[in-house]
Symmetry: C2
Subunit: 325 residues, 2 copies
C-alpha cells in the first residue's frame, strides 16, 4: 500500500491540488480557479470535485493507494482554528471555517491548514533540505516575504496561530511603504516587487538611462528581468541584487539572534538567482552577527522544486500531523 | 518536607546565591564576589562553600528542607552544554564547564545553567505573571537588553543554546554603536545606558541647558536620575522616556510578528518607571502591528521582585527541569 497525502495551495488567482507521495513527489495534480465571487460553499464544492477526480485518476493507475489526509496552504491560514481569516487577496470575507467545511465532505481524512510560508517550512522539513533539523527558518521571497519558524522540530504557531510574519519586521524605520500600510518592512525591500523598487531607486539615484532596465515601466519590470539583465552584466541589475542581499542579510542576522537556527532556507523567484543574492546575503548576515553566531549558520536554497513546492509543502502538513500525534 | 531549589546569579561584580521555595520566596541568601583573578576552580570552591553555608543555616531553622537542585543564571550561560562561553564581562576566559565543575561537589543535585534573561523568563513562568502561559516573551532592560522567548511552554534555546539575543537585533541601521561592536542595535537605545544617551541626544538637539539632567556628566547620568527628573516634570527626561518607549515598541512589534506571544513582560531598572515607559511602548507597539495582532498582546511588568529576581529566576530552572523530565 502506497501512503499519500493531498496538498492544496490556495492562491489569489488559482488553487493547485495534488496527490503527493511520501518522498514529496507529486503523482497527479490539477489547477482550478480560486473564485472571485466570494461564495465559500461553491468554492468548497469545486475543491471537493477536483479532489475526487484526482483520487479517481490515481486509482486507475494504482489500486493500492491510501490517502491519509489533506494539507492546505492558504494566505492567513490558521492552524489552530482551521480557518482562513481576513485574507486580503481572497474574495471570501471575514473568518472562513475552511477545515470544517472540507471535513463535511472528507470526514475520514486528517485535514490541516496553515499559511503558505509555514507549509513551505514543513515541506522542507518533511521532504527537503531540513530533514533531521530541529531548528531552522524558511524565508519565502515572492510577491511578499513570508517565513516559517521551526523550533525544536515543531513549527512555531504562537498564541493565535499567526507567528512567523517576519516579512513584516522593520528593516528601515520610516522607509518604503509596505503592503500592510507600515513603512520600512523587510517585505518592501526583499520581495520581488521590492527588488523592482530597488532597481528604480538606483536608476533614479545615478540617472542610469543606459541600464537595460531603463526601458521597462515601473509596472512591468519584474525580478526575472532583473536577473536576465544581471546575467548580461547590467550594473543596475547587479547592484539591485547586492542591495537586496545586504538588506536580507541584516534581517537574517536578527532572525539568528532571535532563534539561533541551524540553517536558514531561502525559497522563491528571486532566490533562483543563486549567488547574485546568496553571496551578498551571506556576507551581510555574517557582518551583522554577534561573535557567538559567526560562521555557524548555513544559508541554503530550498530543496523543494519551484513548480510543485506549494502543493508539496501543503501535503507535508499531513505527515507532520501524523508524526506529532 | 519542603521542596526548595538553589538559585545562583553570576554577575560581573557579585554572585548572589539563595535558597528559594516553591512559591518563589527567597528563604536565605548570600552574596560573594565574582572574582577578577580568572581562576575558575577557586571560584567554584567559593560558591560551594557559600551553598553549604546556606544549606546549614536553613537546616537550623527548618530540619525538613529538601534541596532539589541548583539553577544558574550567567552571562553567555549555555543550557545545552552547561558552560559559560566567552563571557565578555567575566574574568574566566574561553569555555568554562560550569555545571560539570559544580557537579563534582553536588553530584546528587540537578544542576542547570542558562543566561540571565532566560532565567528571568523561566522565573516569570514558574513563579510570576506568566504562570499558565504557553507563549510569551520576557525583555530585561538593564546594563544591556536581554530577552527570553517561550514557545509552547518551553524556553527557546535554539540550535546552540544561545537563542533570544533580541537586544542585538537591528533597531536603526547605522545608528548608535552597540557594546557588541555593531551599530543600531536595540540595546544601544533601550538599555539604561541607552536612555542616558537619549537624554543627551535631546539636550544636544534642543540645547536644553535648562534641564535638570544638564548638570550631570555623560559618565554619571543614569536611568534612575532620568526617572527622578521626569517625576519633577523635566521635559528632557519626559521625552527620553517617550522616545525609549517608541523605540522599544517598534522592537516589540517585530517580536510579535516573529512569535505571536500572548504577552510580553518587561523587567529591569528602566521599567520601574511604569507608565512613563509602558504607555509609549504600548502605543508604539500597537502602531507597528499588523491588523491581525492589534489589541491582542498584553504588555506587562514582570511580577518578579526586583531585588531577588535574578536568584529566583535562576532557581526556577530547577523546577523547569523537573517538569520537563
Amino acid at each position: 500500500m502506497k501512503k499519500t497525502a493531498i496538498g492544496i495551495d490556495v492562491g489569489g488567482t488559482n488553487t493547485a491540488i495534488g496527490i503527493v507521495d511520501q518522498d514529496g513527489k507529486v503523482m497527479v495534480k490539477k489547477t482550478i480557479k480560486t473564485p472571485s465571487h466570494g461564495d465559500i460553499k461553491l468554492y468548497i464544492a469545486d475543491i471537493t470535485l477536483a479532489v475526487r477526480e484526482l483520487i479517481r485518476s490515481i486509482s486507475l493507475v494504482n489500486n493500492d493507494i491510501k490517502i491519509l489526509g489533506i494539507g492546505i496552504g492558504a494566505p492567513n491560514g490558521n492552524y489552530y482554528s482551521g480557518t482562513i481569516e481576513y485574507a486580503p487577496n481572497l474574495s471570501f470575507k471575514g473568518v472562513i471555517h475552511f477545515v470544517d467545511l472540507l471535513k463535511e465532505n472528507f470526514s475520514d481524512l486528517i485535514i490541516s491548514i496553515t499559511n503558505d510560508a509555514n507549509a513551505a517550512a514543513i515541506g522542507e522539513m518533511v521532504y527537503g533540505g531540513a530533514k533531521g533539523m530541529k531548528n531552522f527558518v524558511m524565508y519565502t521571497l515572492g510577491t511578499g516575504v513570508g517565513s516559517g519558524l521551526v523550533v525544536d522540530g515543531k513549527l512555531v504557531y504562537g498564541n493565535d496561530g499567526f507567528a512567523g510574519e517576519c516579512g513584516h519586521t522593520m528593516l528601515i524605520p520610516g522607509g518604503r511603504l509596505c503592503g500592510c500600510g507600515t513603512r520600512g518592512h523587510l517585505e518592501a525591500y526583499c520581495s520581488a516587487p521590492g527588488m523592482k523598487r530597488t532597481a528604480f531607486e538606483i536608476m533614479v539615484r545615478d540617472n542610469r538611462t543606459d541600464s537595460l532596465l531603463a526601458n521597462k515601466s515601473f509596472k512591468e519590470l519584474d525580478s526575472k528581468m532583473i536577473f536576465d539583465a544581471a546575467e548580461k552584466g547590467d550594473e543596475v541589475a547587479l547592484e539591485t541584487f547586492k542591495l537586496t542581499g545586504k538588506w536580507l542579510g541584516q534581517a537574517l542576522a536578527d532572525t539568528v539572534h532571535y532563534l539561533s537556527p541551524e540553517a536558514i532556507f531561502l525559497f522563491g523567484g528571486p532566490t533562483a538567482a543563486g549567488d547574485y543574492i546568496f553571496k551578498p546575503a551571506k556576507e551581510s548576515m555574517e557582518a551583522h552577527l554577534l561573535p557567538i553566531f559567526k560562521n555557524k549558520i548555513d544559508l541554503l536554497p530550498s530543496k523543494l522544486k519551484a513548480g510543485d513546492a506549494a502543493i508539496v509543502g501543503a501535503s507535508a502538513l499531513v505527515w507532520q500531523e501524523i508524526n506529532n500525534n
